[in-house]
Symmetry: D2
């Protein structure tokens, strides 16, 4: 399907359910997509950080993307992460994404290597030139260890390289400056009418929308997509108190990310494990295993997730 320009709304980064052998559980993934689409989301971001893209082999990435595209069945657009260290490797993923039927690709700046801003600009331009899909920049310094500057994103928005940015930098002030630099809500005035600003911050969606963001890519949206859609709709309707109240409820639910014991597993593993545990408890996916070498949530941690789900009034999703 054609990607709306700008892309707006709730676009969850889709979790990747795994089976006992660590392979993609396509049946669970199909159910997850259904759960999200029925929740009212406006798009799907497959193979993002929350989708454990960094842990998936090329073959597994292909399986994920084909499954998501097939399950979405044209009802919402599918963005595909093409995450890898540098341009030549990203291009291999972009070609695979196009073949699998993705509607857009999402790329970070190079990582592992140390790269000059001019080289980062060349990176995005080359991807756009060689891949016939809209391109989103994924600004995630916690993973990539560099931050895309406002000037660079603006330049790449105005010259048509980028269709949007997914900002997971947590730098809300910087994002505000970017939106101002693009002409505020009326981006058309600056020559980037279709450019989409999406925030990765799942705890400040009301705030980001108030600031002029077009949409949100919330990991927690896997667990409760309908709540993010309600939040989004309240904000779009100008009912900010209602939006803030929905957000408050989701902030409380977000505590699941700390379910795992801090001294025995990483915070990222804990969060991804918690999203999957919640999806399993809600009956959407089969198992809550995360990809190796992440340490899985133990029973006590899963019980904590269950308690918080109950507090949020979330039962079986089907």
């Amino acid at each position: 399907m054609a990607l709306p320009a700008p892309l707006r709304g709730v676009v969850p980064p889709v979790c990747t359910p795994l089976d006992a052998e660590g392979e993609v559980d396509t049946a669970s993934l199909t159910r997850l997509v259904e759960h999200l689409v029925r929740g009212g989301v406006h798009g799907l971001f497959a193979l993002g950080s929350t989708g454990e893209v960094a842990y998936l082999t090329d073959a597994q990435r292909r399986t994920v993307l084909e499954t998501v595209v097939s399950a979405a069945a044209g009802r919402v657009p599918v963005l595909a992460g093409v995450i890898d260290t540098t341009t030549p490797r990203v291009l291999d993923h972009a070609r695979a994404a196009a073949l699998a039927g993705a509607d857009a690709v999402v790329a970070t700046a190079p990582f592992y290597t140390r790269t000059h801003p001019l080289e980062i600009a060349a990176h995005f331009r080359r991807i756009r030139a060689l891949c016939d899909l809209p391109l989103f920049a994924y600004d995630i310094p916690v993973s990539v260890h560099s931050k895309l500057s406002t000037d660079l994103v603006r330049e790449l928005a105005l010259d048509g390289t980028l269709a949007g940015v997914k900002d997971s930098s947590g730098d809300e002030g910087g994002l505000r400056r970017l939106m101002a630099a693009l002409g505020g809500p009326d981006r058309a005035a600056q020559g980037a009418p279709g450019f989409s600003v999406l925030t990765g911050g799942e705890l400040t969606v009301d705030a980001a929308l108030l600031c002029g963001a077009d949409g949100v890519v919330p990991g927690l949206g896997n667990v409760d997509p309908a709540a993010y859609v309600r939040l989004y709709d309240a904000a779009r309707g100008g009912d900010w108190q209602r939006a803030a109240a929905e957000q408050e409820r989701l902030v409380a639910l977000f505590a699941i990310v700390d379910a795992g014991p801090e001294d025995r597993m990483g915070r990222s593993s804990s969060a991804l494990g918690a999203f999957k545990a919640a999806l399993r408890l809600r009956g959407v996916i089969e198992r809550h295993d995360t990809a190796f070498p992440q340490i899985p949530l133990d029973d006590e941690s899963v019980a904590r997730v269950a308690k918080l789900l109950a507090d949020a009034g979330l039962g079986a999703a089907r």
Copy 2:
């Protein structure tokens, strides 16, 4: 005067005007305080990072604080930064602040040294025990190179060590989690009824207030205090669109911080110089010099500031 509990509203970090010899220009500082109080601010934060506290000798810090307290004349509370590397040195500043008549003190975690969270907790408790003034924690990782954890701030809020936190971490999601951990807007329910959450982010004040923050400490508030007060009032009145519009205007004005040439001076020097240049152009202070070794704004940069002031419709303040 007694500090309101919780402290709410606009509390600008007061700039420190300097004369040609680099000494505190008390006449200009007195006019600046008048400018802020007449702008409607709810408190003053003297000797913060924006006040160039790290560049002032102990004698100069004393002069600043006495001048601000005297000029405020009990109309608004005065918070005093007591910024230094560790507890014993902070305590010397806290004693001086009490003597000078400050209504509260604001301290960071230790810096220069590497400190364990348990040591940071002991640091704040000792300051509170030995200084008979309300204590705010100043969370500013860009300067201190460690972040106060949500758990630590919550613990120190609940046991009465802290009267509030001034969050300059830029981590709006973390701040949202802190407020949730303190029981949301109704903090009384959790036993911290007077605890105040202030954000240092001057570009997302509307968003922070929507998220439940009590107030804001905006460096740019030196230049246009009345606008921040309008923003605050709109938010308190539930007129979020109006609040966002005020914020948009201030985001545009904030571009003054990049007035100085990036290859010849630091971004911090550029921002502080720009605030002072704007205050000089508005007739509030005499000179726009920043403290040594900061490189001063050149004429071309000041012209950029003047242009942005004009765009914002800001003329002489008196």
Copy 3:
């Protein structure tokens, strides 16, 4: 060929010559291997950071490894970098390396993701369990953004997971503590007799060998392998003054890494371009292009390389 245990000596990270289309120039690579082997090196590290591994597609990695193994022809062992974000992806590379005939594999900790030390330990153990080749840990915080702790490396050395470590952390003190923890030069006493400590620091090889390191992986060794071998031999023979003098000469030559203009390209691109330019000037490889999106050295920069080569008395290598 069987890998010596411990591996000792000079093991350059082999550059990857590219043709005008950005593809691997196998003829140049074959000549480079010959240049290194004739220079007396004790091993070859293909697909390391200096080999631009992060810029090579899987197909190109395979070509590089097959070329190096074939050109080495069993005269020296070939270590293969299997650099990727996490265990499942690293294992795919490890399988390819075994097929291509590598004598050992070299893996970093996971990157892009945030990983707990227990997860890092599991990562290395799984690689070792599923790949029938000796495994070296590659400690390169500048790329991976975490540091392998002395305790972890010691544990993985003693239980046989690791055959050695390639330390590019620059933390010489930490390396000294690791070697002490392994029992000093006589590692057998601690149960890790075959464990090899290699340093990636090309400017302090004399110092590292004095401290007890087994060998060195110097990027600059591509340009002048014989000098590193002379340095190594002097150190092994106890002639430390001679070793230091050889090192001094190489420190002067190392200035080529700054040949490229700082404002127009990254330092990594400048260094890799300079190594390649030097190899071209010495007649070893055809072109000095680096992989996209790295900005290539311009003529002026190449002239700087040529000047430093001449100062070091380095002419045509063949």
Copy 4:
């Protein structure tokens, strides 16, 4: 006394013994100075990071310096740390140091603030201009969070601003490049004949001396000054194997820095507590308390220190 140019040898950063009230224990400090001078050290660095300078009030700093100068009694030069956030505050300390009779001052780049390299250069030049004592730059990124570039140090060495650098960056390769840039051992050839390069790395002193460093500032030198002097003498005499053996013994002793429990105190507190515990056990100082808010070593940790002292054959020093 006049400072040798260049300053060479072992210059320990003197610990600051405290009494039960947290005040400077001048009797213990006097004994410590005697212990160091009798151990053969070539200078004393008072008020460094190891001396807990960041934890001492201005009054305590004065007491420390007067005590050390008086106890040294002209037998060895005394360098005084003048550590503070920016130039105006550093200058206050520098004046106090001159009054107290220091032979040189040691300053870091500004910290807490964010400073441009041009501002850092101005900072050192202003200190030199206004303080009539030789000036050493203290490069300690772990505390200051910026690194002095080779180019900057070279420039300030050649123009006479700096008498030397104390490098605690751990970047031995960078230090090697600096020494090469200054003309190698024969610095006179480059116009900086009296410039002194001191390394703060206590685990690689043999290596640093082999690389051309003039001296070393080892925290562990408080505990066993004579061993560092033997190491230095061996290196100066060209007996590198003996130097390395002395270093090996000190690397083993250095394990005392991890005596304190990792989950209950900072690594810095553990190391400083261990140095002091060792000095107490050796009968040099009265108590092993560190300054507040550092958590003190418990009995179990002190027992660990005692065990390692015994392993190193270190008994009562008097």
